[in-house]
């Protein structure tokens, strides 16, 4: 057993950290945050693409780097720490993974090389408004090669070139009536409208489909299990983003408490402050350890990947939520201003908590796994 990243992976992480520290300073995400017309940082995205990160797990035959998931995990952690305003998770964790999992040879040939080079951006369209997107209440329909209905919110929906759309393909309301449909978002019958969200540094849109042309990825009734498989993989990667963000929020909080004085002493000397940050540290360690196991399960495609992913996601969501909200709190008034970064972590933490489905869904899913597994 060696439950740690390799030296090469650690080196990659260090490089990613250095790169993002330089390329993703405050000014970069503030530029996106403060301008409602900006969907992402084009410069940063370009630089990331040039680093080859978008092709990390894409096999070399499709123009990628052909690296493993552990490499993608360390990159994800650094992107999370930098709360980078780029469509990385949509294009890489969701769209690329979906195609790698179930794309036909021709779909792979058509999309993967361009995803690797960043020429196109992909995403996954799942939600249909403020409710759990379940087979029983899904309205978007795919019939005779045409897609109709509204997906909302779709991450990076304003800028993505194509989407994998979770849609009803059968007449019933079961999981077997759901398919995953690849749609060119620049084609006919697609209307996009950017929507306001909690985290304006990341784009989300309403996608309205009116008989838009699409093609299945995987079989007609396989969409639900395929989507769950994509989400499991993405959950591990997002967990690393959350761990990165949570640790950064804790550092920011810790540093401020060592600077700020009240009643003649550093506020870091007060037990209430210390214990709050100790609790954040504890949550972060648990989250990191569970994320590591998720990384291992992802990289080995372990049979308990679903369980590992849910566990990682639950811990990481908890950790980032706590660290980001208490980061504001220890700052006091100044932490509640727009100019100080605390709220960026608070916003991003809630976005990441909900983006692949909220905690209730994942907790329910985890316990379903535990009910079955004797190895609980």
């Amino acid at each position: 057993m060696n439950f740690d990243f390799s030296e090469d992976q650690k080196f990659l992480k260090e490089q990613a950290n250095k790169f993002l520290t330089e390329q993703c300073e405050t000014a970069v995400f503030r530029a996106v945050l403060n301008d409602s017309k900006k969907t992402h940082s084009k410069e940063l995205w370009k630089a990331i693409v040039e680093m080859g990160w978008t092709g990390t797990t894409i096999p070399e035959e499709f123009g990628g780097l052909g690296l493993g998931y552990l490499e993608l995990c360390v990159i994800a952690e650094e992107l999370g720490r930098a709360i980078a305003p780029v469509p990385f998770s949509s294009s890489v964790y969701l769209a690329t993974e979906g195609l790698l999992l179930a794309g036909s040879q021709s779909q792979k040939e058509k999309y993967l090389p361009r995803l690797a080079t960043g020429e196109i951006i992909g995403t996954l369209a799942m939600a249909e408004g403020p409710r759990q997107p379940l087979p029983k209440n899904m309205d978007v329909t795919f019939k005779d090669g045409k897609l109709s209905g509204v997906k909302l919110p779709v991450p990076d929906g304003s800028i993505a070139d194509f989407a994998l759309v979770v849609a009803r393909t059968g007449d019933g309301k079961t999981e077997n009536d759901v398919g995953l449909v690849l749609v060119d978002l620049n084609g006919d019958g697609v209307t996009r409208e950017t929507v306001e969200t909690l985290d304006p540094s990341r784009d989300h849109a309403r996608l309205s489909f009116d008989n838009a042309a699409g093609e299945l990825v995987g079989g007609a009734g396989e969409g639900w299990s395929l989507t769950r498989a994509i989400l499991d993989r993405a959950a591990v990667l997002i967990a690393f983003e959350q761990v990165g963000g949570a640790e950064k929020a804790l550092e920011v909080a810790r540093d401020y408490t060592m600077e700020r004085r009240a009643f003649g002493r550093q506020i870091a000397t007060y037990q209430a402050i210390k214990h709050k940050l100790a609790d954040a540290y504890i949550a972060n360690v648990l989250a990191r350890s569970n994320a590591y196991y998720g990384a291992w399960a992802l990289s080995t495609n372990a049979p308990d990947l679903a369980q590992a992913a849910a566990t990682a996601r639950i811990s990481a969501t908890d950790a980032f939520h706590y660290a980001s909200k208490e980061c504001i709190q220890v700052h006091g008034g100044i932490g509640y201003t727009w100019e100080v970064d605390c709220h960026l972590y608070y916003r991003r933490s809630k976005l990441l908590a909900l983006t692949l489905g909220g905690p209730p869904v994942w907790k329910n899913r985890l316990v379903s796994q535990l009910e079955q597994s004797n190895a609980a």
Binding site: L198, A262, G264, Y346
Partner: protein, 407 residues
């Protein structure tokens, strides 16, 4: 123990109801961010008109004595009015700090002439007051403020910066706490003045909050000259004066507003989860029960306070619990409601997310409430020390001249 109105109370309530029914429009049932899209200036005009109408009908500052223009009513009447008014779509929030805290301080420390000049216009809503205490480096430790006033003949010259000043941009006057002697212990070198907010040396800049809005201001003082007659209380007695102001705050600091368990019940009823409607889910039910019990606990605590007040008791620091409980509950409840909305919960436009986006708004507002008017931590200190009688933490700044405390 009697929960019903006494005959006098019932008669008063009827009077209030008649007044409100004739002059205001009722609110909707669940929480909403109603004035979200109305410009503040417009809301302010309505609020001033409403304040005047209340004053003319004897419903402004109900417990103020007649000599100050109040109707000389009882705390219970004040409560009855508040209960009834809360069902109507009117806004009294502009006047709370001025009439609740600043003007009473003026009344306690200024000469008769000054009081006569200011109390009436404030009461009828023509002039609004703000409170200028907090500074960037003096938040929880307000007495650590550094804005200074230097005596120059009959005048004082004020320089420095205040922050978190609610309404400074529309206020006419303010009371400002400044340091007049940095060479003595920090609480002993402070003095209070009233100032004209229209003074050209006062620069009010809106503070951009993390929630996006600007409810507060930074206020810069550059060579602002005030007369010695604008002093409230003796030189060096400013902390004592400020405590009078803050004691009044204690009663004003209330409940964190925003989304509550009623909204959560509505949401849960209309939200479908994998195994059925959310309202039938055990986790949702447990949380509704817990938050409901907390909300009721606060409500009945207020009733107990009012009962005590109507028996002549002064409410003490135990009222600090309201904000501690309700601010965190708002943060937790809104977070959980957004979780129920799943991925769509990140949207903040009412058209997309429904429920007037009250959960999303509350989620972004709650961190501020956990800080404003005393952080969770400061309030717990107050409860431990002033209610439970526990000793202070070690105070390294005690008795140390202000200019020798490490900054």
């Amino acid at each position: 123990m009697d929960f019903n109105d006494s005959p006098e109370e019932a008669a008063y309530r009827k009077k209030v109801q008649d007044f409100l029914k004739a002059n205001a429009a009722p609110k909707e049932a669940t929480t909403a961010s109603r004035s979200r899209n109305r410009p503040e200036a417009e809301v302010l005009v309505d609020a001033k008109a409403w304040q005047k109408k209340k004053m003319q009908n004897g419903f402004a500052q109900i417990t103020w004595p007649k000599e100050w223009g109040g109707p000389g009513g009882t705390p219970m009447q004040q409560v009855i009015y508040g209960q009834e008014e809360s069902g109507y779509d009117v806004d009294g929030s502009f006047f709370g700090i001025g009439l609740g805290m600043c003007v009473p301080t003026v009344m306690a420390y200024a000469d008769d002439e000054t009081c006569k000049r200011f109390v009436g216009p404030a009461l009828q809503g023509d002039e609004i007051w703000c409170q200028l205490f907090s500074e960037p480096a003096a938040g929880s430790d307000v007495a650590g403020l550094i804005t200074k006033a230097v005596k120059d003949g009959d005048e004082w010259v004020i320089n420095g910066q205040k922050v978190w000043t609610s309404g400074a941009h529309y206020c006419d006057f303010g009371i400002v706490l400044v340091r007049t002697d940095p060479g003595v212990a920090k609480h002993k070198g402070l003095t209070m003045f009233w100032v004209d907010m229209k003074d050209p040396g006062i620069d009010v800049r809106p503070l951009h909050q993390m929630s996006g809005g600007s409810n507060f201001n930074e206020v810069y003082f550059t060579d602002v000259r005030v007369k010695d007659t604008q002093r409230l209380g003796d030189v060096g007695q400013g902390w004592k004066v400020a405590l009078t102001t803050l004691m009044n705050e204690r009663l004003a600091v209330g409940q964190a507003g925003g989304a509550d368990f009623k909204d959560l019940i509505e949401l849960a009823k209309s939200t479908e989860l994998e195994n059925g409607p959310a309202i039938k889910d055990g986790a949702v039910r447990e949380k509704i029960a817990d938050w409901y019990a907390k909300a009721q606990g606060l409500k009945y605590t207020r009733y107990r306070t009012v009962s005590a007040m109507s028996q002549g008791e002064t409410p003490g620091p135990e009222n600090s619990i309201t904000k501690v409980v309700s601010a965190s509950r708002l943060q937790d409840l809104t977070s959980f409601a957004m979780d129920l909305m799943d991925m769509g919960g990140i949207m903040v436009n009412p058209d997309d997310v429904g429920y007037e986006a009250a959960f999303q708004e509350g989620y972004m507002w709650a961190p501020g409430i956990r800080i404003a008017g005393g952080t969770d931590e400061i309030l717990r200190n107050i409860i431990a020390e002033r209610v439970l009688g526990m000793p202070q933490d070690v105070r390294v700044d005690k008795g140390v001249p202000f200019n020798e405390i490490p900054k």
